[in-house]
């Protein structure tokens, strides 16, 4: 059943590629409208960057290496994690739960596109907006403050960009899955909070995964969360295992798409049961 489902979705994807790009574009443009709000967020991002950087600097006062990493690495990591914080969403809604609650999903399902891919392409538009309007300024400020001291080569930037895309899909799919819980639980608030908390901590946005003690690293490597922000940042900072890391991301990328499609398929049946 699932193979047929996948094939069907792939055909959908090819035929409707233009439509999906249009979804992304519209969302991108919609977000462009909230200029003041973005500036406020930018300000907060930069403040957090400076607070975190100061705390990590204090950590390195008596040691050259911590957890096997020098201060420069941790500072560059902190800059990139603030750059990608909004690009690879840790919290916030992807709109599924709202669609289910309001019944909007009924009309969305009538559209000749796959609902999951529609949400995903909308979110990609949003994430691109954050990459340009939030990430880039944070990167520039981080560099000007002398916190970002890494000169990545062509190879790592290329692999890094692919990795950013994979992370965006993995993170948004996690949000999709959890919000789709609203099909069954009628509220998504609990699962959503659980996801945000875990994602923020285990993706390295709070503390670099490199600074976790060994046992916590092991736990983290079994969960999907670190294969978003943490992996992408490590690749961009020139990890020697970039290709293996990318491979792991591709694995989670496929798992997430598969799970989301199955979940949608089951959920739709549930919606029909609700009626009207």
């Amino acid at each position: 059943m699932s193979r047929a489902l996948k094939q069907e979705s792939l055909i959908f994807m090819r035929e409707n590629f233009k439509t999906y790009v249009a979804f992304s574009k519209v969302e991108f443009l919609r977000y462009l409208g909230f200029r003041l709000s973005n500036i406020a967020g930018l300000f907060t991002n930069i403040f957090f960057l400076m607070f975190r950087a100061a705390a990590f600097k204090a950590l390195f006062v008596n040691a050259a290496l911590i957890g096997g990493y020098p201060l420069e690495y941790i500072l560059s990591y902190t800059v990139l994690s603030q750059v990608l914080l909004m690009v690879i969403p840790q919290w916030g809604s992807v709109g599924v739960a709202e669609d289910i609650r309001t019944g909007q999903i009924a009309s969305d399902l009538l559209k000749p596109v796959n609902y999951y891919f529609m949400i995903l392409s909308k979110r990609i538009g949003v994430c691109l907006f954050y990459l340009l309007m939030r990430g880039l300024p944070v990167l520039i400020v981080g560099t000007l403050l002398g916190l970002f001291r890494c000169q990545p080569d062509f190879f790592h930037v290329t692999v890094g960009i692919i990795s950013v895309f994979l992370s965006i899909v993995i993170a948004n799919s996690l949000h999709f899955l959890v919000e789709a819980a609203a099909f069954w639980l009628e509220s998504h608030q609990g699962p959503k909070r659980l996801l945000s908390v875990s994602l923020y901590f285990f993706s390295g946005a709070f503390i670099p995964v490199a600074l976790f003690p060994p046992w916590a690293k092991e736990v983290s490597s079994l969960l999907p969360f670190q294969y978003t922000l943490n992996t992408t940042v490590n690749i961009l900072l020139g990890s020697s295992e970039s290709l293996q890391l990318l491979g792991l991301q591709v694995m989670w990328f496929l798992i997430m798409i598969f799970l989301c499609l199955i979940c949608l398929n089951r959920g739709i049946k549930k919606v029909t049961l609700h009626g009207g």
């Binding site: 967020g41 607070f51 100061a54 957890g67 609990g190 909070r193 659980l194 976790f212």
Partner: protein, 266 residues
């Protein structure tokens, strides 16, 4: 008394609405529990690599964290919804709040009440007590007084920040994310000794937003640490008056903003 009764009945109604999705709600309580746990884990992870941070031991830092998160949890219980006030303003629901014969401050307080936050509060108090025991802060009247002043002043400041964030949204709608730099940023700063930050950050968190006066200065007094701040600092004794002064300013800002509020309707 009348106000308190109203507050209680509002909270009761609000809780009924929250708990109507039971499964999701249970997961949410667990999520908040995990959130606090992971935050504390973060501090443990830092101290896995070093013995002291700027001369402060693990449990002394956890004391700072305990003070901060106890005060912040209480502030969230009565003021978190100020952050979402723009949603009420946008949809026109805020007018509803204004037409009722209860101060909007009380209504927001009732809306902010969440049982899972009570869980975080208990966790925070637990961390604070454990830190006090581990660092052998023997409970003297003076020590107890300092700890209480510290928590109360910090609560007042965080509540004032939530209030200011709400007042700000009257003017800009959803740009009040800027206050996250001071509320959640404030937690980041006040869970570590203030002396590790640059001079301008120390000045910011002492003179502009007096979180440092409420948390760090009493802690120096308690642990008899040398004050390594690069800025001139007021006495510990002033923590509460300064916090109340800060609240007074933000209240004035709130009243000023609400007077200029012109609904969404046309």
């Amino acid at each position: 008394m009348q106000i308190f009764k109203l507050y209680l009945s509002l909270v009761k109604l609000h809780m009924k609405a929250q708990t109507s999705y039971r499964k999701s709600y249970c997961i949410e309580i667990f999520a908040y529990f995990l959130q606090m746990g992971l935050h504390i884990c973060g501090i443990f992870f830092i101290f896995y690599h070093v013995k002291t941070l700027a001369g402060w031991s693990l449990w002394e830092v956890l004391y700072l964290y305990g003070i901060t998160s106890t005060a912040f949890s209480v502030a969230q219980l009565v003021g978190e919804k100020f952050e979402d006030l723009y949603i009420y303003i946008k949809s026109g629901q805020f007018d509803q709040l204004l037409t009722r014969p209860v101060s909007p401050l009380i209504q927001v307080a009732a809306l902010s009440f969440r049982v899972e936050r009570v869980g975080s509060l208990i966790q925070s108090i637990g961390v604070l007590c454990l830190a006090c025991v581990k660092t052998k802060v023997y409970i003297t009247m003076a020590g107890l007084g300092l700890i209480t002043t510290s928590v109360v002043s910090m609560f007042v400041i965080y509540y004032a920040l939530f209030l200011a964030s709400g007042a700000f949204s009257f003017w800009t709608l959803d740009s009040n994310e800027i206050f996250n730099a001071f509320t959640y940023g404030g937690i980041e700063v006040s869970k570590y000794p203030l002396s590790i930050y640059q001079e301008w950050m120390q000045a910011l968190f002492i003179y502009v937003i007096p979180i440092g006066v409420a948390g760090y200065l009493p802690a120096i007094e308690i642990y008899k640490k040398p004050s390594e701040l690069m800025v001139w600092t007021p006495e510990v004794l002033y923590a509460l008056p300064i916090a109340l002064g800060f609240l007074g300013l933000t209240l004035a800002y709130w009243h000023f903003s609400i007077r200029h509020y012109q609904s969404t309707g046309s």
